[in-house]
Assembly symmetry: C2
Homo-oligomer: 156 residues x 2
């Protein structure tokens, strides 16, 4: 097995958007939902600008030593009354480049996300993972997540 690349996790910049979209599409479920191009379609850049303008959203990118984006996730920090007013962090759009899965990069990325959420005072992290992603469920359970809930979605 090749040595896993050393990665650095950091907030995404606008020039990362094309690479992040490519990662989102590098996935069985994501492939049909995204439009991969460089430069990216305007809708992606507009969405990036909304994320960047929101102090309660954080789009992260993991880059290897050559500066290639090899992973991404998004955090949303949510204030609520529940749980005595505890803040929570919602994680979404987690991806590691398909050629690099199973080498521990996802754990580095998620640990970064948990540290970031703790630093912002969040007491809980949650996510929805498609029922078909059984490898992902095992991955998250190793990281301490509990499959206690059903994740439900509806188009509007």
């Amino acid at each position: 097995m090749a040595t896993a690349p050393k990665i650095t996790v950091r907030p995404a910049r606008r020039e990362d958007v094309a690479a992040i979209v490519a990662l989102l599409a590098d996935d069985g479920l994501g492939a049909g939902r995204e439009v991969v191009s460089d430069p990216p379609a305007p809708a992606y850049l507009e969405a990036f600008d909304r994320i960047a303008a929101n102090p309660r959203a954080l789009l992260a990118v993991a880059e290897d030593a050559e500066g290639r984006a090899v992973g991404t996730l998004q955090l949303s920090f949510i204030a609520g009354l529940s749980n005595q007013g505890a803040e929570l962090a919602l994680v979404s759009a987690v991806r590691i480049a398909s050629s690099l899965r199973g080498q521990g990069l996802g754990e580095i990325l998620m640990q970064w996300a948990m540290d970031e959420a703790r630093a912002r005072g969040c007491r809980q992290m949650e996510l929805l993972s498609h029922a078909s992603r059984t490898d992902a469920h095992r991955f998250y359970e190793r990281l301490g997540f509990v499959s206690s809930h059903i994740g439900m979605k509806r188009a509007l």
Copy 2:
């Protein structure tokens, strides 16, 4: 069966916080997590202030004709790159007063939430519902939600 009360759904105000916390606690799972008091504990008021200051969060209350809070939910509007930059709405902390369940109030509240999310340009709504809440799952499925995901949580 008593006639279901006519309800009005509106954004919550600070003076609704005690009643909303009581609704959150009026539930098998929520009872052990909340501290019910009037005036509410400072942590709840501080959380309310964070929600009120966030243009991407909306705490709703359903009140009956006498102005009593009989339902609540929270919406969080989340920008993301996924799905070609589609905005999504996360629904959480949905409650109807236990004495009034099964009379259609939850549907009025959720339809209000979906309308609000559509008006803000959201193309998808999602939620996590505890695996034990099978009545709630059927309720959401009747409203068009699909139980396509696992909802995972982790304390931080």
